[in-house]
Symmetry: C2
Subunit: 323 residues, 2 copies
């Protein structure tokens, strides 16, 4: 069996900052935080999806090709940051964060398929089906999606997460990723190509296609960290605004950046006739919208103490990375 199902290994002090060095408003540096957390997620993903061996080794090779392609790990980092913001331990949300990243990766593999967006490049490398063929790429996506629920259900319990919180997190993650969320959003995106969407239709599209998984990442991380309902409600508001801010900023990046800078074809959305925020409300309007969303995300964190500093910094990061 290639997906590890044992408990999370003993976490070495090197992996985690000591509690005395936890980020505070005074000394918090987002860049270092993102790098540390991404490395933690990277190590765990390496461990969770084993190196290829046996008769289905080609499958694991394809799964690892896309999963370990060096993404920003934004969703698991959000899960970990949300968990910490309510005083939870990193261990409580680490398997969950990895499960979210596996689901995010599956969605990229399937979205790139010839029958969907038909993309050849992703993060500066050939897409999964260009390397492994369509059949294995489809199955690598299926495998990552399915295994994500195994990782979440089996590995989280060893972090002494209550079973009831875990069950609710499984349900919420499946809701966000499934027909009511990400999969539904991809359908709307596909069927909407070439026709004009209104601003509110575009918001529904992004809310499902990318927003729902953002929200699930933040709320799940917090729930597994022991959040009470009022905290989860506030974080749901934060994550909804943050996800949309990232989307608007991504649309701006797509307009402004060169192919070299972001490692995939740019302006492809416009070329395909897909609606974007800049196409609907202009570049300046989009910038103003992204900043407003980030401000509202910050407002939602008003009742949180300095343990929410990473979440606050991420809201600024969402819109400042290229504005």
């Amino acid at each position: 069996m290639a997906i590890k199902s044992t408990s999370i290994r003993a976490i070495t002090p090197a992996s985690y900052p000591a509690s005395s060095s936890r980020p505070t408003a005074d000394d918090f540096v987002l860049e270092r935080y993102l790098k540390d957390r991404a490395a933690l997620v990277e190590r765990e993903l390496q461990y969770l999806v084993a190196a290829p061996e046996g008769p289905s080794s080609r499958l694991f090779e394809a799964m690892r090709y896309s999963l370990l392609a060096g993404g920003k790990r934004l969703r698991p980092i959000l899960a970990l940051a949300a968990c910490e913001s309510v005083g939870g331990s990193l261990e409580a949300a680490l398997s969950f964060g990895c499960a979210v990243e596996m689901i995010h990766t599956y969605s990229l593999i399937h979205d790139d398929l010839p029958c969907m967006d038909d993309d050849d490049l992703r993060r500066g490398r050939l897409t999964n089906h260009k390397v492994y063929g369509e059949a294995i790429a489809t199955l690598a996506g299926d495998g990552l999606l399915t295994d994500a629920f195994k990782v979440l259900a089996r590995n989280s319990l060893s972090a002494r997460v209550p079973a009831s919180a875990l069950i609710e997190t499984v349900a919420e993650l499946a809701d966000a990723a499934g027909s009511a969320g990400m999969v539904g959003g991809q359908v709307i995106d596909l069927l909407g190509e070439g026709r004009d969407l209104t601003l509110s239709e575009l918001e529904v599209l992004h809310g499902k296609k990318t927003g729902a998984l953002f929200v699930a990442s933040v709320c799940g991380g917090a729930r597994l960290g022991g959040a009470v309902q009022a905290q989860i409600s506030a974080l749901r508001e934060y994550a909804g605004k943050l996800g949309l801010a990232f989307q608007v900023a991504d649309d701006l990046l797509d307009v402004e950046a060169s192919a070299e800078q972001i490692g995939k074809r740019t302006q492809k959305d416009q070329a395909r006739g897909k609606a974007t925020y800049p196409s609907l409300i202009g570049v300046e309007g989009s910038r103003a919208m992204a900043r407003d969303l980030a401000a509202r995300a910050l407002d939602a964190l008003a009742s949180f103490d300095r343990r929410a500093e990473p979440l606050r910094a991420l809201a600024s990061y969402a819109v400042e990375r290229q504005l």
Copy 2:
């Protein structure tokens, strides 16, 4: 949101047999049992995956097209029968059984895709991608797979199933369906086409591709019904033998039946160079093997009382339907 997430509705007396009419060794009639249970599953699936509406209505139409195409509902029936065999209520395993059927259906949709087995017919009807196109078919599969975990996690709790049993069932189902199970089996199947497999390689292939989900159906149903570990172990043995018996019998059907009888192209496995039991050990050898497997499945139930009669009858049914 189109997947219902409320609790299971009050179950009417018409939906369930009263406990006094539960099957016993004396009056048990498998045909009636299969029909009753399939109808129960059918109603629940109709309820769980809502009728199409809204901007992603095409997705739900495609999901329902394949999910409600009138399969035998064998896996959910096994889950319900296993639950009853240890004294559990039907409610405890109904959402689980539906989740298993959703996963089974997704696997058929993806297996039929042009990049996989490239089939035009399934159960006498056009395959999903022939009706909805490859993109929507891929997403309908993704949606059914993901939503299955939501149905299981969210709806089972209302049947007062302990959260810890539910978490273990989520993990076991994902294990059976994912890279270590069904998805891994499909990869071995694809890569093995056109080359000779040994009998033991064929057993590994079927153990992953179809056996793992059989085992998960039976063990999950029993666990949610309150089974103790010794019962689950015995049922694991039963389900492993039963799953393989069904596979050998299916290979025999593929050799012997006409296209009209089983509603899909026949002899396609041989045409594609796939190994089958009849091709490796002959028709008579395969018949003997199927009967032996069914007998060993029955042996595994030796310590169960008459509440296991449906499981016993299913073992005979597996091999007698065409031998």
